[in-house]
Amino acid sequence: MIKQVEYISLLIIPLFILFTVLYGTFKKVRVYDSFVVGAKEGPAIILKIFPYLLTIFVAIKGFQASGAFDFVRDAFYSLFAFMGVPIEAVSMAIVKPLSGSASTALFADIVKTTGPESLATQMSAIIMGSAETTFYVLAVYLGAVGIRKTRYLVPVCLVADFIGIVVAVIVTKWFF
């Protein structure tokens, strides 16, 4: 089952591109020129996104380096400790919404230090698989179209992230 899905994942982009190019040619589109025209819009969008990305990355890195992150983690740990949640999983739950690369590194570290079949690993694996790098998504998608008035979107995402972590903990407890 996994192998099949993996194969479909490998196949999907090449097939999609092939189909697009062939259909375009069939419809008498000059696909090369078309592609170039589309690609030309790329730099302008990235220029729009860059300041948003920079602003949020500086805040996240500073938050991690200042020791504030450790404080938040310990606070959450005391909140979740009674449910038997390992501190490593708490770290994972806080890092994942902030940074994709940091959460991957942290996950590898958790597997290495606590063993591949520990509760901390299982729980982190489920958090890692079911949560998203919320702040990155917000910066990129809002930045791309220059949204300044976000209304209640950020609180919704934070509440949803929190519930997502609780769900991940419950699901882990249920399965392992």
Binding site: S9, V37, I45, F57, G62, F63, G67, P116, E132
Partner: protein, 191 residues
């Protein structure tokens, strides 16, 4: 976002002063700047590629055909998208890319979807309900198989790394649904 950013910066600096991490904090600002440049350069490449591909979709009219095909499905969640609008195609392709764990395609297609949704936006600079729904779906991470997690578990000798697939699928489905419920609840309160 404004409040959140202000809190993060102020709290970080206060903590840096009290925990003696001032040097690390200052260094982290430049690390953050460097990371932003690296990620932007990476995005520049893949976003341009996908804009090239979607341009062919537009010029050949395929984008409207795909939109027509998926309209019944997408318009259940996104109420105010008219006819066979290109945003339906961008949203569909983004969701598919997410499902199959194709991050390098999902983000550019998501940006494309945001642009198409912004084309329907009457008040530029302000978010629309459709954009909110789209972003909430994306932050809830719907993925059939978490390949990177399985890869790391297998790399460290887990006896059956594929065992995480089912729990992850359940966790991600429940949290995606609750995320949409949370959004609906906020929408009721703040209308």
């Amino acid at each position: 976002m404004n409040v959140l950013w202000l809190i993060m910066i102020c709290v970080s600096i206060v903590f840096a002063i009290f925990t003696g991490n001032l040097e690390a904090f200052t260094k982290s600002i430049f690390d953050g700047a460097k990371a932003a440049v690296e990620v932007s350069l990476f995005l520049l490449g893949i976003v341009s590629v996908w804009l090239g591909i979607t341009r062919i979709l537009e010029d050949s009219g395929l984008i409207y055909r795909i939109a027509h095909l998926f309209k019944p499905l997408i318009c259940r969640l996104f109420k105010n998208i008219p006819g066979d609008h290109p945003s339906i195609t961008a949203i569909t392709l983004n969701v598919l890319a997410n499902l199959f764990g194709l991050g390098n395609a999902a983000t550019p297609l998501g940006i494309k979807a945001m642009q198409e949704l912004d084309a329907l936006n009457g008040e530029k600079g302000a978010i629309t309900p459709e954009m909110m729904t789209f972003i909430v779906i994306n932050t809830a991470s719907i993925q059939l198989i978490p390949f990177s997690v399985i890869g790391i578990l297998a790399g460290y000798g887990h006896s059956n790394p594929a065992a995480v697939v089912f729990p992850v699928l359940i966790a991600t489905t429940i949290s995606a649904m609750t995320a949409l419920l949370v959004l609906a609840a906020f929408r009721k309160v703040f209308r």
